[in-house]
């Protein structure tokens, strides 16, 4: 090997070494950031299958005044805690021209309680009065930046996000709710008033992302 080539190799070696180290560094799982208030709903033309077998898109579900999306599942006790409020909220939303859909993003545990069959059983036993569809590969959850179940995203008639986060401030008891965040947001949206707060947080189960 000539001296010139050796010099080139010596210069290249640290770069190659660094690249090699970086390639093998542990990569942290980072899902997309939560949609910001005002952002448009993503993937609204993506087809999802409801428990009834109907294939639909978010655009088709949306009503004249907006769309309510709830990332939810069958196995999370936090989802179950709010179970008595899903139908009443859905009824209120629909009566106000807001379409409603619940999406199941738990792609990693379809065989462990989150299959379409499990969803169908849950929808039947709870008497769900709204669409409950499977979010294949958790694609919608990822695009929305959802992080837990349940997780609420409310859009206006232009499909712009106007509220996201919790259903209300008391998972344990509907009677003891002091701040019915989502109901207030729907009422304000329809009345053309400012929604406040626009974002809230609540405890829930992590979404079981596909591996």
């Amino acid at each position: 090997m000539t001296i010139m080539k050796l010099h080139k190799l010596l210069y290249a070696l640290p770069i190659l070494l660094a690249a090699g180290i970086i390639a093998f560094l542990p990569v942290e799982d980072k899902k997309a950031d939560r949609l910001e208030i005002g952002a448009k709903a993503p993937l609204t033309d993506v087809k999802v299958t409801d428990v009834s077998g109907e294939v639909l898109t978010l655009k088709e579900v949306a009503g004249e005044n907006g769309l309510l999306v709830n990332f939810s599942c069958n196995t999370c006790p936090w989802v179950e805690a709010w179970e008595d409020r899903y139908n009443p909220i859905s009824k209120m939303a629909e009566e106000n021209g807001i379409g409603v859909i619940m999406l199941n993003p738990n792609a990693a545990i379809r065989d462990d309680g989150e299959s379409m069959e499990d969803m169908q059983a849950r929808a039947k036993s709870s008497g769900y009065d709204f669409y409950y569809a499977l979010d294949e590969g958790a694609k919608l959850a990822e695009a929305f930046g959802a992080t837990r179940t349940p997780d609420i995203f409310l859009f206006n008639s232009d499909m712009e996000l106007v509220y996201t986060g919790a259903i209300d401030d008391n998972a344990k008891s509907a009677e003891e709710v002091e701040q019915p965040y989502l109901k207030n947001a729907i009422q304000s949206l329809v009345a053309g008033k400012e929604i406040n707060p626009k974002t809230t947080k609540a405890l829930g189960c992590t979404i079981k992302w596909p591996k």
């Binding site: 542990p26 942290e28 799982d29 939560r34 006790p77 805690a81 992080t147 837990r148 919790a166 401030d169 008391n170 998972a171 344990k172 809230t200 947080k201 609540a202 405890l203 829930g204 189960c205 992590t206 979404i207 992302w209």
Partner: protein, 173 residues
């Protein structure tokens, strides 16, 4: 002779029983009240801050109904023992109040022998007190160095290696 043998046997029996109960209480020196204490978000902030200047801190929010929480729990207990001199672990149960007993039983099963906490109050202020980066999904972990600087935080369960990697980073900061 036989009487002396009986006395000797009884003496040994009593001594054995006495040591037996001592070792049992040694294994569980902490009372239930101390093992799981109610705490609000604000109170927890104070607890976390109290270790500044002393030790790195790992905060973990868990619940008995949270499968990934249960899976990773023993990793954290093990690492706490491994890095005892330089790390403190603050476990916070976010169980519903009706599950408090279950949380206590789980802590004992996991041989936790230091004070842990039970979340009180509403979700939003609790979540905000623990971390701005946290959406409320369980489990949640954050690791601080002994100056109170954030080293890492994440939602979702984690493997032993990930916990250890960031604990070492916190300790060496």
């Amino acid at each position: 002779m036989k009487f002396k043998q009986i006395v000797l046997f009884l003496f040994c029996f009593v001594v054995f029983m006495a040591f037996g109960s001592v070792s049992e209480s040694a294994a569980q020196e902490i009372s239930d009240k101390e093992l799981l204490k109610d705490a609000s978000g604000e109170e927890l902030q104070e607890v976390i801050s109290s270790y500044q200047g002393e030790k790195a801190v790992l905060v973990n929010v868990w619940a008995t109904w949270c499968a990934p929480c249960i899976e990773e729990f023993p990793y954290i207990v093990d690492l706490k023992q491994k890095y005892e001199d330089k790390l403190h672990v603050i476990f916070i149960s976010a169980d519903f109040p009706s599950q408090r007993e279950k949380a206590l039983e789980f802590l004992k099963e996991q041989n936790v022998d230091w004070t842990t906490y039970f979340k009180t109050g509403k979700d939003q202020p609790f979540i905000e007190a623990i971390s701005d980066d946290w959406s409320g999904a369980l489990p949640f972990t954050k690791i601080l160095d002994n100056e109170g600087n954030l080293v890492a935080n994440w939602e979702q369960g984690a493997e032993y290696e990930k916990f250890e990697r960031y604990i070492k980073k916190a300790i060496n900061n």
